[in-house]
């Protein structure tokens, strides 16, 4: 039950893009075409889940025993950067087809705040899903990370679909480009507000 609540909350209620504002750069930057949005979402999904697993273990088996939790930010960003690099190398060798699809997005992901954001969230915030507030355990963290990245994908793909339609319409000159995208995002965020109170 707890897992279902985590999943619903992470995808809909606390959508990482539309209510937490993390990862807005790729959200605005690569959402012009549906196909690139799908590729980006896939890459983010993969990296967020993997990065959360590694940083969670690093936090509780290295930083906490050594009492150097204040090194969190530096350690996590280095882990994420190294991880992204490694995923790129492994993917290139193991699955060239997947690399073709996700490859160009991987370098961009190091500086995607959603990845660092989720990694920090699971080790600093307390969550309460139907019970006492508590820190997430490993399994819950992985589920949370995966669901969050699904939420990222959902918002990203919806938004790209909308932007493809908008591109066909006539937009007033000052609104062309980013402003009309922001207005669209605003309306999409209003739609997602309907989910609040669900969990």
């Amino acid at each position: 039950m707890e897992y279902i609540l985590i999943i619903i909350s992470a995808i809909f209620v606390n959508n990482i893009l539309l209510s937490q504002f993390m990862g807005i750069c790729p959200f605005l930057g690569v959402s012009n075409k549906l196909s690139t949005a799908v590729g980006m979402s896939g890459a983010v999904c993969f990296v967020i889940t993997l990065a959360t697993l590694v940083t969670y273990l690093f936090q509780y088996y290295v930083l906490v025993p050594l009492h150097i939790e204040f090194m969190q930010t530096i350690a996590f960003i280095l882990i994420i950067a190294a991880l992204v690099q490694m995923v790129e190398i492994v993917l290139k060798k193991v699955s060239p087809a997947l690399y073709q699809a996700l490859g160009i997005f991987l370098p961009l992901i190091t500086t995607n705040c959603a990845v660092l954001g989720v990694a920090l969230m699971v080790v600093t915030n307390e969550f309460s899903y139907g019970g006492e507030p508590h820190m997430l355990n490993l399994a819950e963290s992985i589920v949370f990370a995966f669901a969050t990245s699904l939420g990222f994908g959902l918002a990203m793909i919806l938004f790209a679909g909308l932007r493809e339609q908008i591109a066909l319409n006539k937009v007033p000159k000052p609104f062309q480009g980013i402003p009309i995208a922001l207005v669209t995002a605003s309306i999409l965020a209003m739609a997602f507000m309907g989910f609040s109170g669900l969990v």
Binding site: F21, M22, G23, M71, T73, I77, G117, S186, F192, M193
Partner: protein, 196 residues
């Protein structure tokens, strides 16, 4: 370019928020009020100026191939210092801004200035550049925060001037996107007229 120009260019011509559209995550997330927006801006100025100076001083000794990871480590070090300082002296603001303080590490403005300016200019010029861009960012965040605060809760910098509630949606997520969209449009209109 003179030092004064380095500082003033971040205001309009190279304003990181309105004309370059960088660092959107903290821009949207922390501007629920003018004070919050300004605090976030000033926190970023602190990191930006110091990391610009450190990178400009160390750039000649960093091999070209590993420069990006090296810059990220330098920036992360200053962010950690900022976190500790804020926890000690302004715990309330630290609490409000929350996760977005550590997330300055991945703010594209900071890394962008390191790569585009600091690694090929002198320490003093880089500091001026950091101040200029940082103030432009703070200005944008304060303005956006002010607009959202006036519309959303009917107050400015914490001083309430209406009774009852404002248009609540402007404090929430959709209002952030909407207010930023209209401010960018306004900014485009004003700067386009100046150009003619």
């Amino acid at each position: 370019m003179g030092k004064i120009q380095l500082i003033t260019k971040g205001f309009v011509k190279e304003n990181p928020t309105f004309s370059l559209l960088l660092g959107m995550c903290p821009t949207l997330a922390t501007t629920t009020s003018a004070i919050n927006g300004m605090s976030m801006g000033l926190a970023t100025v602190f990191v930006l100026v110091l990391s610009n100076m450190a990178i400009s001083a160390t750039a000649p000794y960093i091999p070209d191939k590993v420069r990006i990871p090296a810059y990220i480590v330098i920036i992360a070090a200053f962010v950690t210092i900022l976190q500790l300082v804020m926890q000690a002296f302004t715990p309330d603001i630290y609490e409000t801004l929350g996760l977005f303080i550590p997330l300055i590490v991945v703010n594209c403005i900071v890394l962008g200035r390191a790569e585009a300016f600091a690694n090929k200019n002198s320490v003093v010029d880089s500091a001026c550049d950091g101040i200029g861009i940082g103030i432009g960012f703070t200005f944008a965040l304060t303005l956006l925060g002010l607009v959202r605060e006036i519309l959303g809760s009917g107050s400015a910098f914490g001083y309430k001037f209406i009774t009852g509630d404002g248009i609540l949606v402007f404090v929430l997520a959709p209002g952030a996107f909407m207010a930023l969209a209209y401010l960018i449009v306004l900014f485009k209109k004003v700067t386009a007229k100046k150009g003619e």
